[in-house]
């Protein structure tokens, strides 16, 4: 069930260049059921900026009723968000959309998790849940440069983790696909979130693997009412279009026309 709640800031800290980690608390957390879902945030009570911002859920603590997001503060709305202090409130609409199906990986299997930039955060909760049920994970995380890298330690503590940077300032130089070509990891299913070219490259690189991809699009409502975020589909589905906000953001590979 989707709620709207003014949630309290529990923690906010900068963890890399322009990258912030924000933890909120409230009842709404109890309805967060699946990694890869997102929330739609209103960062101010005034009319400018006006629209909500979609941000992925990076980790969930049902017991403490807390959840954490990781976001890049470079635009008008996210900058205001990054100035929220302990005890201030943020207007949250969520949880929204359909996330990564944890059930598609069996205990004992290996899952490849590939993230790019601000696509990395939702993979963290996913990895935790996969591990909880006994799935091994390989994390391949791509960033612009060493300054932007975050959560390397958190992912490493869970399992095998590789960092790729576009400028080579940390880990392998290039794109995540460059590293994957070299390493040629064995796995049963892949999950990915990041820029569309990355998702597209992954689909092509593993034509026979089961995979799940999380997409981004500019949104209005975030709940399926405004048709802002539709994407074209392939013959793999009989739907003529899909809404990223309410049908996604995660879709099985091959369904969205890339």
């Amino acid at each position: 069930m989707i709620h709207q709640e003014r949630m309290k800031v529990v923690r906010q800290q900068q963890i890399a260049e322009d990258i912030f980690e924000l933890t909120l608390t409230g009842q709404l957390v109890l309805d967060m059921k699946q990694p890869g879902q997102f929330v739609h945030l209103r960062v101010t009570d005034t009319y400018e900026p006006l629209l909500r911002r979609p941000i992925s859920i990076a980790s969930i603590d049902h017991e403490l009723k807390e959840f954490t997001m990781i976001y890049r503060a470079d635009g008008r709305g996210t900058k205001i968000l990054s100035e929220k202090h302990l005890g201030e409130v943020v207007d949250v609409l969520g949880p929204l959309g359909h996330g990564f199906p944890v059930e598609e990986a069996e205990p004992g299997q290996t899952a490849l998790l590939v993230g790019g930039g601000i696509g990395v955060p939702p993979l963290y909760q996913l990895s935790k849940e996969l591990h909880a049920k006994g799935v091994r994970t390989i994390h391949v995380l791509g960033f612009q440069s060493a300054n932007n890298v975050f959560y390397e330690k958190q992912f490493s503590e869970l399992d095998e983790t590789y960092i790729v940077t576009a400028d080579g300032s940390q880990g392998t130089k290039g794109f995540v696909t460059d590293l994957l070509k070299g390493k040629a990891p064995t796995f049963d299913v892949f999950y990915s979130c990041g820029p569309t070219p990355m998702l597209s490259a992954l689909e092509q690189a593993y034509p026979d693997k089961k995979g799940f991809l999380s997409f981004e699009e500019r949104m209005g409502c975030g709940i399926g009412a405004c048709f802002a975020c539709v994407c074209n589909t392939t013959a793999a589905t009989d739907k003529e279009y899909l809404k990223i906000c309410s049908d996604g953001p995660v879709f099985p590979r091959g369904v969205v026309k890339l």
Binding site: L50, L51, R218, V230, Y241
Partner: protein, 303 residues
Amino acid sequence: MNRLQVELPGLSLKNPIIPASGCFGFGQEYGQFYDLSKLGAIMIKATTLETRFGNPTPRVAETAAGMLNAIGLQNPGLEHVLAHELPWLEKYDVPIIANVAGTETADYVAVAEAISKAPNVHALELNISCPNVKCGGIQFGTDPKSASDLTAAVKAVSDVPVYVKLSPNVTNIAEIAKAVEAGGADGITMINTLIGMRLHPRTGKPIIANGTGGLSGPAVKPVAIRMVHEVSRNVNIPIIGMGGVATAEDVIDFLSVGASAVAVGTANFVDPFVCPNIIDALPQKLDELGYDKLTDVIGRSHR
């Protein structure tokens, strides 16, 4: 006595709050948040004769106190709306205003005729003002003669009253309003969006794939208020006002300049509960202003 009751051609509204077309789908999504029977009416998404996919994405962009959209009238087509969307809405005690779009007179007429026969459709809203489709729509809304002729053609086939939705992108809005009144319109809804553009700061290309989009939200409210003010002095048919409504104060403003009800668009995206919240706030607003009933507020700017 219901202080918020408003009577309009074809529409007996328990309150004057109506989600605007295109901002509320066919109701399902907001039905998750509250009982849709609470609403005065619902303006459903534009319906065309055939299924339309609409424009490429990105389709929205934020602007200062507003947003641009170029959805391109995506909708599942007349047949699907009649078979699925409207029947689903029948479980609610709420009149439906069907937004009718097309590319030529014949489409408009065909959609209007069929959809006006649906049991819960109490009025039509003729969309002659969509700025986001290549042909049809706005060219009817910028030429008085075409607007009047189309209105008459639709009136001839509709089983329910016909409201015409005006475009603000014109030199003389009163002229168009008078033309649709002469064409037999039972009411006017206004305003649709202003044409605008936002660029990507790095590339300098429009963010919206369509290039231009329609501007809505609080930013346009002063333009909408001025236009409703002007049109209400020039026609004798009722007006449903819209453009930036987000609070009960905004509703009072639109009624003051002569609207009889209001539609709420963009604000639904900002706050999914905005419509019921406004409805709940209205009685106290009336008390503050010293009015018995909402209809007393209508047109007070002109008195």
